[in-house]
Amino acid sequence: MDPERPFRLLEYGPTCAMFELDAQVHVEDLSAHLRTAVDAGTLTDVEDMVPAARTLMVLTRTPATRTAVVGVAETWSPSDEVAATGAEHRIEVVYDGPDIDEVRRLTGMDRDEIISIHSDAEYRVAFMGFAPGFGYLTGLPEVLHLPRRKDPRTRVPPRSVAIAGEYSAVYPRVSPGGWNLIGRSLQPMWRDDSEQPNVLAPGDLVRFLPVESSDRRDAQ
């Protein structure tokens, strides 16, 4: 890390500013800082921002904008408290995923404990990737930090609620996947016929509400 700056700037061509940071929370904090400048009109010609686990990639339309983005980043001082900026979602979950027994075995907890720990936590969409609309949710309690499955599934059903490493997620669409499936959401995370098909966006807050499978909406 550059002693003068709270980030490392990586080379990625003339119009992309690639920031490397120390912690996930700093990625989110710097994203919010730059977003504020974009919304205020201080930064124009920013095309896209792609946060990840330790990096923030900012795509711009001109080399001058890239320079301006780095300049705004230099006015940022890291904070471990990220202000909530996004929408809030309450997602109803039936905790009957095919890996719930494996999670019980790995954690030594019973199903009710797993449900209450997973659904008591408050999550934030730290970043998206892997597939359209797939959000990496931070805030998963450490007792549920588990490795990915050794044999990834070739087909994970949409709306599967999953955990792996320090993250939780809801699979938006059918895809392959190696995360531990603990339940299923009653709400879709991807609306195929919508102009805005993704439900989640980076910075959003998520809470899971446990419901029993006898819920009549489950039949849909």
Binding site: E11, M49, V50, A52, G129, P132, G133, R173, E195, P202
Partner: protein, 291 residues
């Protein structure tokens, strides 16, 4: 004047043909790839020749073989790969303004050089859009399905006020070649590879693997050695990123690339040269030089 729309019927799609435009921009942060025409220069030219805005979708036909016919007279242009073009039995040429009578089949041969042809038709294909684009993204499965024999796609007639037909009937552009030189910028993880890896990348020649597609051009030839072997956390990718996976054989990510990846990116093909990468066929060669 008839109110029936003109339709394009797919007689034969060839090995793979998809609709492409300039792609979805500004949504990689939602996990959505850019997609769009791999040889954007040819896509834009085809639209200009028929008087369309450059943003209209064209048909991107890979390895030629496409055959289509229309329920009414249309103006078309075929650009990109060096292919024979037939309107009915009559041989025509690429990079020309072509008038295709009603019911007559437009057919592409196999490329002599290059890989992808762009077929623009005057008017606008009636296709669903997602984030202002009708591009087919073969990684994510977004956008229309690839073309299949029997498909019928309506064409919205061009708004007469918006038509800006080309003042020329032939565009004198060079055809793709089987060896190209692309300029590269250093990438974010150049220091995760050995010093000699970068020197190899910008001095040796690489051969295009048949496993290449719209997601990436896979390269055979010299392997690039890693200096750091720990696991890299996934990070943002951009089109043209040269990623080095475990086997040391570089992959140049093209428009349907995933938005993030966990192998080190050693370099970046400059944006101005991406259309050259988009025309490389299996067995073609590429050399990289520092930008």
């Amino acid at each position: 004047m008839s109110t029936m729309p003109t339709t394009m019927e797919v007689v034969h799609p060839g090995p793979i043909a998809t609709f492409q435009d300039l792609g979805r921009h500004g949504v990689m942060g939602l996990g959505i790839p850019v997609s769009g025409a791999l040889d954007e220069r040819s896509h834009r030219l085809a639209n200009r020749l028929v008087g369309n805005p450059e943003t209209h979708p064209t048909v991107e036909a890979t390895l030629g073989g496409l055959a289509v016919r229309f329920s009414g007279p249309v103006v078309v242009a075929v650009t990109g790969a060096d292919v024979d073009v037939f309107v009915g039995d009559r041989q025509e040429a690429i990079n020309c303004v072509l008038r295709v009578p009603r019911g007559t089949t437009l057919r592409l041969g196999a490329p002599r050089s290059g890989l992808r042809s762009y077929v623009a038709v005057s008017g606008l294909f009636s296709l669903p859009t997602l984030f202002d684009s009708s591009s087919t993204d073969l990684l994510s499965g977004l956008g229309p399905e690839p073309l299949q024999a029997g498909d019928r796609i309506d064409l919205r007639r061009p708004d007469p006020g918006a038509v800006n037909p080309a003042a020329i009937s032939f565009a004198p552009v060079s055809v793709p070649t089987s060896h190209v030189i692309c300029l590269v910028h250093p990438g974010p993880r150049r220091d995760w590879l050995t010093q000699s890896a970068w020197e190899t990348l910008v001095s040796q020649e690489f051969c295009v693997s048949p496993r290449s597609n719209r997601i990436g051009v896979r390269l055979e030839g010299p392997t690039l050695e890693r200096r750091r072997h720990e696991e890299l956390r996934s990070e943002g990718l951009i089109t043209g990123a040269i990623q080095v996976p475990g086997d040391g054989r570089p992959v140049v990510f093209m428009h349907d690339h995933p938005t993030t990846g966990g192998y080190p990116v050693i370099g970046l093909v400059r944006a101005e040269d991406l259309h050259l990468m988009g025309q490389l066929a299996p067995g073609d060669t590429v050399a990289f030089r520092p930008a």
